[in-house]
């Protein structure tokens, strides 16, 4: 017999989108019953920090995203280690199963699906072997840590943000690490060739091998069922005792049901379609009500720059979507204008950021687009080493204004088409900053090293659609709000303009 509960608000999921929603809900509606169902066993922790947990730099308390009493302080009735198994939408009822198999039926007025994503399983044989891990949860980090004593060498499948974080942590733990990346360069979904070249150098300098354009085909398993190595498509065999699979994430849409996560267009990712209030579109159409919301990795929200629905499985976007969902659930009409692809990471101390586009799209009209890059000069292009020249994208064929100024850093083009090069600073480490403009507005940013300083000014200009045609070079050289036209700078000094580009609603003009 199922135990029955009822709450005005029910949230499924216990990570950042849920936190964004809870904080918004409680600001608007401190008293109404709020229940949360999560498979997690602890209060919200920071998934991006699990590499610090793995290395032992931080304990569980050190990676908590909110204080341990977060749920109780905000009056959230929690069902931890509990899996929502089914939602009966007509009855507004969530069916769930607790850690000891106990059954719950929780009814809601408003439901938020903040179910996140799960690690994708690439078509590689042998992934069930002992010693194969993913790296997105506290439990993953714990399992890896427990297994490590018998590990000398690790193969990381996937050279994205998660895979590289795992690779860095494991390298810092003294393991030999090889990263196998299918694409011709690492971090290809978020960085241009120059920036990913820098990251590759940082890994190489710390003894981590990175194999690009390489495909893992099979995990080799020994007689005890443990990992013995990874065989690549080209026949190469990488001996190892541990494999980290970091081949992207898949939105968890199963609770929404087939009807709620409509079959996407060919090639499009499957995620829960939402409108600008983060309401599940299929639910709206089916019931005419506004009972079900989705946010975070599981939701397919709009991209601010293109307006198109696009998965943006990044931490800040999940918080913003959760916040918008929470405000709407509490009855405060708020529109989500869109998320921005925005990534900040650091590898072996080297900071790398990107936002919006990182290259001019192929086939773009050169009249509309412009690329400006800034790099430290006077040193040889390090990545022009033999056989290792990163490909420079289409940007170099577009108008690039040199406009060199005296000083340590000078603006110049990234590279000519035939001469790919990675500019490197002397002494102070790498420095790189690139902005992409379309019709005088910033639509893309990549920066490395000290080039990331005040990068948010460029992101803010991008997100707010500020016309930068007259200040672009000043912004590139020295990002700061003083570079903007005085009207814009004056509005920014008051704090009234700048940080609510992602939302529209009655809070917007506060």
């Amino acid at each position: 017999m199922a135990q029955r509960f009822s709450a005005k608000y029910v949230i499924i999921g216990g990570s950042v989108a849920a936190v964004g929603a809870i904080e918004a809900l409680r600001a608007e509606d401190p008293g109404s019953p709020l229940a949360l169902v999560t498979e997690d066993r602890v209060s919200p922790y920071s998934r991006p920090l699990i590499s610090h947990y793995l290395t032992g730099e931080r304990d569980l308390d050190g990676i908590r995203y909110r204080p341990p009493d977060f749920y109780s302080r905000l009056g959230v009735k929690t069902f931890l280690q509990t899996r929502a198994t089914r939602i009966h939408f007509p009855d507004h009822c969530v069916h769930a199963e607790g850690p000891a198999g106990e059954a719950y039926e929780i009814t809601y007025e408003k439901l938020l699906l903040a179910t996140g994503s799960r690690p994708a399983r690439p078509p590689i044989q042998g992934l069930e072997a002992q010693g194969v891990f993913s790296f997105t949860s506290l439990e993953d980090a714990e399992a890896i840590r427990a297994f490590l004593p018998r590990v000398k060498a690790v193969v990381v499948i996937g050279g994205g943000l998660i895979g590289l974080q795992a690779a860095e942590a494991l390298s810092n733990l003294g393991r030999q690490v090889v990263v196998v990346e299918f694409q011709p360069r690492i971090l290809s979904p978020v960085l241009d060739a120059v920036a990913s070249g820098y990251v590759e150098q940082a890994f190489a300098a710390h003894g981590v091998r990175i194999l690009t354009s390489a495909a893992a085909q099979r995990v080799l398993v020994d007689s005890a069922g443990s990992v013995a190595g990874v065989a690549l498509k080209d026949g190469q065999v990488l001996p190892c005792q541990m494999v980290i699979v970091a081949a992207g994430v898949t939105p968890r849409t199963e609770l929404a049901g087939a009807g709620f996560a409509p079959a996407p267009a060919p090639g499009a990712p499957r995620a829960i379609g939402v409108d600008e209030r983060m309401q599940v579109q299929a639910d709206l159409q089916a019931s005419g009500g506004a009972a079900v919301y989705a946010a975070g990795d599981a939701a397919l929200g709009p991209d601010l720059l293109s307006g198109a629905a696009r998965p943006l499985p990044i931490w800040p976007n999940a918080y913003l979507q959760g916040r918008v969902a929470g405000l709407n659930m509490a009855g405060r009409p708020t529109r989500f204008r869109g998320g921005l692809s925005m990534n900040s990471s650091h590898f072996f101390g080297l900071p790398v950021v990107s936002a919006g586009l990182f290259d001019v799209p192929e086939g773009a009209d050169p009249q509309e687009w412009e690329v400006l890059t800034l790099s430290a000069d006077g040193t040889p292009p390090a990545a022009a080493r033999p056989g290792h020249a990163p490909r420079v994208g289409t940007s170099s064929s577009f108008a690039v204004r040199p406009g060199a100024r005296p000083g340590r850093a000078a603006a110049r083009s990234g590279a000519g088409p035939g001469h790919p090069q990675v500019p490197v600073a002397s002494g102070a480490g790498p420095f790189y900053r690139k902005i992409i403009l379309r019709h005088g507005r910033i639509v893309g940013l990549v920066a490395v090293g000290a080039g990331i300083d005040r990068a948010g000014v460029l992101v803010g200009a991008m997100a707010n659609g500020v016309d930068c045609s007259r200040c672009k070079e000043d912004l590139l050289r020295n990002p700061g709000i003083a570079a903007f036209p005085e009207q814009v700078a004056a509005a920014m000094r008051t704090g009234r303009f700048g940080s609510h580009w992602w939302m529209a609603g009655d809070r917007e003009e506060r």
Binding site: P316, Y319, L320, S344, H346, G460, I481, R493, G498
Partner: protein, 149 residues
Amino acid sequence: MKRVYVDPDVCMGCGLCEVYCLTQHSRSLDILKAYRQEKPRPVARIRVERHGNTAFGFQCRQCSEPLCVYACVSGATFLDDHGQVAFDESRCIGCWTCVLACPYGAIARDDARERVARCDLCGDPQGDGLPACVRNCPNEALSVREEAV
């Protein structure tokens, strides 16, 4: 929301606000020691923006919708019980996501300590104590005001 305002017509870009901010956030609270002896050198939370003939000291705007808080992956940047943006530097890992999120460029990187350096209104958001930059601005270009925004 309490924040520091600048009158750019009065600011002469002397940079003393940066000096006093850095000192206020040093261990010694002494200008010379902070600059010459403390390693790594403390980082100022205010920055004088200069462009052409204008200059103005500038720091955290205490946004009503603080993107730095929403973007922070560690929880180091958070809203305190008064709704003021607060920062627990022991939780910061120096991922620089807030540097990328802040549209004002008001968050500095303290590279040596692997954490950000950001205005905390000199740790006294609710009291009457003036932030060091305001107290020490020779032109009184800076003022701290509470305004509903």
